[in-house]
């Protein structure tokens, strides 16, 4: 189970942020934003790199004492970040990958919603519940 998920826009401004435990939000914001540097690094090194870097999923970005941070960047340069508890051993790379895929589908749906203006922070309640469900693995 993931403890935090974030969507970061093209200009590295946060568009959406959700944590399972609302008290920890500030602390997670700090970690997620600091991991953006690594995202940038991975993207830039990808230009010269081989075929492996063509995947949207970037793998693990940071491993802290208590948490692991994973990243995913879409073709439109929207970044998805997931924070997972380090003590959680059940969550493998593949599960994280499919979690990102589901978040990406949700994101594509919200962008296609005419009431959402691209580039604005996402405030849809429905979207928040869907993302929380993905994080807790109930879908």
């Amino acid at each position: 189970m993931a403890v935090c998920a974030a969507i970061i826009g093209k200009d590295n401004s946060p568009k959406f942020f959700v944590t399972i435990n609302p008290d920890e939000e500030l602390q997670f914001q700090y970690r997620v934003l600091s991991s953006l540097d690594i995202v940038e690094d991975k993207l830039n090194s990808g230009v010269k790199g081989g075929a492996d870097t063509k995947e949207l999923y970037l793998g693990m970005l940071l491993s802290l004492e208590a948490h692991k941070i994973y990243g995913y960047v879409t073709n439109t340069k929207i970044k998805f970040i997931i924070v997972v508890d380090s003590t959680n051993m059940v969550l493998r790379d593949n599960e994280i990958r499919s979690m990102f895929r589901k978040i990406h589908s949700e994101y594509a749906d919200i962008v296609s919603n005419p009431f959402y203006i691209p580039g604005e922070p996402i405030s849809s309640k429905n979207f928040t519940t869907n993302i929380k469900n993905i994080m807790t693995g109930t879908v």
């Binding site: 063509k54 995947e55 949207l56 879409t74 994101y107 594509a108």
Partner: protein, 160 residues
């Protein structure tokens, strides 16, 4: 196919709607029709739809890679065929040629309706501009119709 016709009808109605509203606002006789709203609707559509279309795609290497995607997968998704010819000068100008453009095929061939053709390509110009804008390529898109069912789109990438 029925579902494809729906899009054609919707597109035609959008054009009618915009032209009617434009006529009501101002009596512009002899002037060019105002198609900027139509272009904007296309831009918004392209900007949104590209998120869905590139979901399963690997990351694009460079600009040319993106253009190839537009010519193949993107064009197939909207116009049910691929672009017939892509040309570039490798300095930011791309010319996409479609010999049988979907919105022009149902108009009669020849010169008769050539002056109304811009109405039917403005939306597409917007769609291309929108999708490239979301893929971080800022550009100008213009269309050129010389012989009725075929259409050329000129994409001019703006380098900063």
């Amino acid at each position: 196919m029925a579902d494809e016709t729906l899009f054609d009808f919707l597109h035609n109605e959008i054009i009618n709607y915009i032209l009617e509203n434009g006529d009501r606002d101002k009596n512009n006789e002899g002037k060019d029709e105002d198609l900027s709203l139509l272009e904007y609707i296309g831009f918004s559509t392209g900007y949104r739809i590209i998120e869905r279309l590139t979901k399963e795609m690997p990351r694009f290497k460079d600009e040319l890679d993106t253009m190839k995607f537009v010519c193949t997968d993107f064009w197939c998704a909207i116009y049910k065929k691929q672009i017939d010819n892509l040309r570039t000068n490798h300095q930011g100008i791309y010319v996409l040629q479609d010999n049988n453009f979907r919105f022009l095929t149902s108009l009669s061939n020849g010169k008769q309706y050539l002056e109304v053709a811009p109405r039917y390509v403005a939306f597409t110009c917007g769609v291309i501009r929108g999708c490239l804008a979301n893929l971080n390529i800022m550009c100008l898109v213009t269309a050129e119709v010389q012989n009725m069912p075929s259409c050329k789109f000129h994409i001019q990438v703006q380098r900063t």
